[in-house]
Structures are given as structure tokens and as C-alpha cells.
Symmetry: C2
Subunit: 419 residues, 2 copies
Amino acid sequence: MSLVVMKFGGTSVANIERIRNVAKRCAKVAEQGHEVVVIVSAMSGETNKLLALAHEAGGEIPDPREMDALAATGEQVTAALTAMALQQAGKPARSLLGHQVRVLTDNAFTKARIRTIDGTKIGETVKSGQICVIAGFQGVDDHGNITTLGRGGSDTSAVAIAAAINADVCEIYTDVDGVYTTDPNICPLARKIKHISYEEMLELASLGAKVLQIRSVEIAMKYGVPVHVRSSFSDAEGTIVTSEDRFSPSEMERMTVAGVAYDKNEAKLTLRDVQDQPGVVAKIFGALAEKNISVDMIIQNVATGGAAATDVTFTVTKADVARAKSVIAEIGKIVGMKELVVDDQVVKVSIVGLGMRSHAGIAAKMFELLAGEGINIQAISTSEIKVSCLIAAKYTELAVRALHTGFGLDRKDVKEEGA
Amino acid sequence: MSLVVMKFGGTSVANIERIRNVAKRCAKVAEQGHEVVVIVSAMSGETNKLLALAHEAGGEIPDPREMDALAATGEQVTAALTAMALQQAGKPARSLLGHQVRVLTDNAFTKARIRTIDGTKIGETVKSGQICVIAGFQGVDDHGNITTLGRGGSDTSAVAIAAAINADVCEIYTDVDGVYTTDPNICPLARKIKHISYEEMLELASLGAKVLQIRSVEIAMKYGVPVHVRSSFSDAEGTIVTSEDRFSPSEMERMTVAGVAYDKNEAKLTLRDVQDQPGVVAKIFGALAEKNISVDMIIQNVATGGAAATDVTFTVTKADVARAKSVIAEIGKIVGMKELVVDDQVVKVSIVGLGMRSHAGIAAKMFELLAGEGINIQAISTSEIKVSCLIAAKYTELAVRALHTGFGLDRKDVKEEGA
């Protein structure tokens, strides 16, 4: 007998018919003798509807505390309806809200972070033979105020609850059937990944794979919760995310590169001809940090303007460009900048894989593959298990497909295990 | 400075525009220097929408615990939106839910009764200069389960909270502008009552005036909370409901009859020729009581069938007729009943007034007025402040108008105080 956490996203509970399917699915797992805890999101569309009401009543920025009291009703509705549907399917069930479980969070309304989760009530519920249905996304602060974990927070709820009750697995049911080696929309030969490590998943998620919330992967990694990402519309196995030590030896010898990601959400800023003196770069990035603008890639070139000046290039998210420009307008005067050039027609393509750690020459191979397609690399960044290159956005598809094929990830290649 | 509880029903908060009006209204009272506590219902239509979802997911009788967790979201949404609208109107405000206030109830889900209300959090909120917006209709049981007080429970929440925080008045805002001497739809000369006692209000409400929930009037009476029933769409004074001792001397000398009510919701059952022996009547009404069927009026006639037999007539609500018939079918055999006659074309007209206690002949005058119109009285019941007559339903309007005029309640008569 296992203790299984099953989480269903908004599209999986979008209407009563789907909620009934969710109930059937959970009932089936219970009938196999497992203890089942279900985490549900709001019915898709509900959260946006509530947000619209909030803006109508509360203006552009409604009070965050009230925003959370309002938004939390979305998951409350689904939890109650799911418990009812389970009972109709002949399974005893009861719903629990964030404050009933006690999902204790800080008081950062609309983006609260979980502090502790009390597993007692959940444990009592499943031990008494009931399926426990929990409203995701929500918690309660020290003072009994309702809080929410921010968009996609139900994944976080699910993994954190799975950790708190020491569940054997946290199954994340969604509208895709797993994590792919790259975006199937631009690479038809993309393959579903059977088994991936937390570290790889984090790099892929943060690079735009968007299947699992980064926060939930971080929590899963911290507490060693195995996560199974799978489709709520089929019985097929999805992608299992675990720590590396759960990989079988044959899996460990798998592909050096697990996936290819791309991120169109960055823009490149170049400060031309700033003074080439100690402290100048620190001034620039210090000023950006002060305004809470995250800088991703950084390159310092030898400048065209002569020995006394240099160019500084970096990337920020497109959302931060306007703010970054106003910071640079100020600091540019101090460091003698001649010109600021902004280029938002760029994309960051990345290869991710645990195997890189033990395989030399992976980065070099990536540069070769891009060069082979005549793609110029504008910036490079690397981590232990990732290499990223900034290139012109128009090459996105070409680059992703070249890397996917070049690193042997294409679907026809079925010899490989685990990737 | 007063402490004012203001309660708004579903039609008063039916959309954001109306919620904004509610906020303006509350803000105005706060600006006059009063401390304000607002109780809100679900936006009209919401509760029915949730009920429909519940039946779809949970069948004919969804689990009552889950039903309450679901239904409570309706008021939660309004409370958060109202707090936001107040903030937009420049008034600090915060919402509180049943479990946050702590409205402690029993665990009779869907029809819970309030046990205690902790006024601490409400007190802290208003003392800190904020308007406190509370979700009506909901509470929490000993185990932290969400409960609801049943339809119209927000009136009960409002009055009970007003009692708990020792408010100076509980204002019930609704879509009518007060309590009338009778139904204005059938008597155009009906007048708005300025001031009425709890006892009279109870008799009028239970007879179908439907402006205030009976339970809320009972609580108001028990704790001496002055209630002001008024329109949320106008500034006119409505009807004030207080204890008798708050009436001014001139008011005490007002009309002996405060209002005329009618109730079409009863049916008359006559058991013909049952044995005229001790214990027979006890058997009949014992059997009905056992099935939880409330009997209202009872008449025992001298029977047409001879000295050994009698007729027994009583009224029950129309909803109970089917069940009553099956009980009588059984018990009828034992008591030798010859025939059961059901008449649902009846109406109960009542006159209500504190003044009756000190005025003789009020009942006689009622019978005369009805006789004057050629209306036959089928049954009579009386209490200290009420006389009711059962008559054929076709005479409803005629009887109500005759009594209204006969007891001097018509609008043109403006000399009278307080009625």
C-alpha cells in the first residue's frame, strides 16, 4: 500500500464532467489499496473571472489580503465538488481547505511561501478510509488570514503536502503527457522523457518548459519527493522526476544531454564605450541590482572606441527592459557611456544534462552545431549541467532542431534509456 | 459615536456597481463618526449557481458538509469585493470569514445554529479605524468544519453579531423599504410601519411577511438588538423593530392591530366520522408528530354520523400534505375513519397587534368584518397578540382589504403614530 498524492490542474477540473473523471481516476487508485490525497486547482477560467471582479471592485491593484480571500474561493469550490463526486462514485471523501489542513505560510499575500504543513488532519482522514481532497494554492498566515501561493501554486501545494505526509509519490496531472526533450511544436522529433533528475528539471523549467512550477521542483528536490508528471486525459506513464540516486545504472549511462530549451523572454542591452576602469562594471550592475532587476548573461568586450573604453553587454527579461533603460540612462552619464543599444530580437537556447559533468567537449560541440548552421553566438553562459547561447531570434527553430538532432535526441533514435 | 451593523442581502450586492453603492453607503456612515460592521450575503444568483453545481457533482442530496464548504464561497467572494470597494472609496476595510471571526455553530450542516460569537477580532478591526466586512450565512463548528446557517442565514448572522459586539443598531438593507401593515400587492392602501415590536414582527414574519428571517427576530428579541429594516436603494427610514419598552407613550396608544397577514401555504385535512372516544385525537396527532409533521389549527366538530362519531379537522403546510395523508391512511383504520377530505383551497388570514392584549372584542370585530363580506370562517386560532381565521382561498384579497380598512390601517388615515 502506498500513500499517493494526486494533483489536478485547472483544465483537468474545468467542468463537472471532468471532475467526475478525476473522481473516477482517484477512486481507481484507492481501489488498488492505496491511500489517496487529492490536490485540486480552481476550475480553469475561475481565477481569471475572480481577478476581473477584483479589478472592477478594487481598482488596478486590489488589496492583496482581500485578493487572496477572494481567489482562494476558486479552489474551495473545486475541492467541495470533487469530494461530492468521489462520494457519488462510492468513495468516502472529505475536502480540506488551507486553513483546515493547516498550510501555514508567511503573510506575503498573493505570493506567500509555505512555512510548515501540519499533516495530522490529512493523516486522520486517510487512515479513516476517506479520500482527502485539499484545495491547492492556498494557506493561512499566523493571524488566520487566508493567503495564496501565486499562480501555479497548486503544484507547490501538492509537492509540499506530499513532503509533509511523507507520500510515496506526488502525481501531477496536467494537460500534457510529460516533459519533452524539447518543444514538440518546433521539433516534431521531440521525445517524452521517462525519467529526469530534479536538477535537470529545474534547468528545463526555468528555461521555459513550463510543465512544472520551479518552486514545486525545488521543494520536491529538498525533501526528495518523487514527482510523476502525467496527462489527466490518458493512462500513459508520464515523466518521473527524482533525485539522481534513484536512477538505475543503465539510466546513468544515458544521453549526456537530456533536453534542449529556449527562452524568448530576454533582451540584450549593450552600453557602448564606457570607461575601461576598475569599478565601472560594479557601478552598472550595482545600480541594476538596487532596482531589483535580475541580469542573466554578461559579456565585456574589448571596445571599438580605443583602449580607454569598452563595451558592456548583458541580458534582462523583456519585462525589465524599460526599467533597466532608465537605470542605465542615469548611470551611463557617470561611466561615460556613449550609446545604449537594446536588442530584443534574441533568444537563449540551452542544452541541459547531468551527463555533461563527466563528458568533456559538450559546449564545444554545441558551438560547432550552431556554427554549422551559420548561426552567430552573441553570448554564452554555462553551469555544471547547462550551456546557454544567445542568438538572433530568427534562428530559434533552426538552432533547436540542430541541437536536438546533433545531441542524438530525435525520436527515431530509440536505443537510449531514460531520455 | 455609535457601533452600527449594516447587513446587505443578495440583491443589494448583485453586481460590482451595487457593491460600490453599498461601499459608499457604509463609508458615509463611517464619515459621520460611527464604527461600522458590514455583513454581506452572496451576490444574488450565486448560491443557486453553486447549488446547481453541487447537484450535478453530488447527486440529489450532496454531502451536507461539502455543500457548506461550497456554499460558503458565495459570501466569501462578496466580503472580499466589498472590502476592496470600501478601500477604493478611501475607507480602510478588511473582510472576515465565519471561521476568522469565530462564529461558532453546532455541526448541523446546511442549517447550523449559532452557539457563540467571539467579538474580539471584530472589535480590534473597528477600533483600529477599519470597516469590518463579514461574510454572512457562515460559521465553523468545533472541529473547524465550515457550516452554513441555511437560507436567509445572513440576517441571523447580522443580528447575532450585533448582539455579540453590543451594537447600537442592526440595519438590515433589503429590496423593500420596510415592513408594511399588509401586502401592498393586494392592498394598495397598505402603510409602512415605522416602529414594531419583536413579538408583532415574529407573528407577521411567520405569517408570510418575509422581510426578516424569523430566527433573526428571535435572536434580536433575546438580546434586545434594535433592528432597522430599510431599502438599500433609498435613504428613507424603514421599519424599526425593538422591544415594547422602547416605544414612546404616544406609540403605545397606537392602533390595536399593527398588521394583517395571510398565508396560502396551508391545507385543511378533515377526518370524517372517527370514533368519539377518549384517546382517539391523541392517537391521530401523536402519529403525525412522530413523523415530524407540524399541525397548525385544529377543530373537533360534532359529527354528522351520529353520537358515536365525530369529525377531526386540522391544517398542515402544503408541503406536508402527502406525508400527512399516508400517516392518516394508517391511523384512520384504527380510529374507524370513514373518509379523509383534503382541501388546499384555503388561506389563513391573521390580525396581529400588541394592543389586543388590552382591548376586548378584537376577535369578535374580525369575525364581524369577515361575515360582513359573506366570508365563512372554517377554523379559528388565537394567541395573545394574534387572531387567525381559515377561509376559502378565493376570498384572500377581499378579506385582507376588509380587515385592513376595518381596523383603521388604511394609508389615508395618517393621525396614528407608529403604525
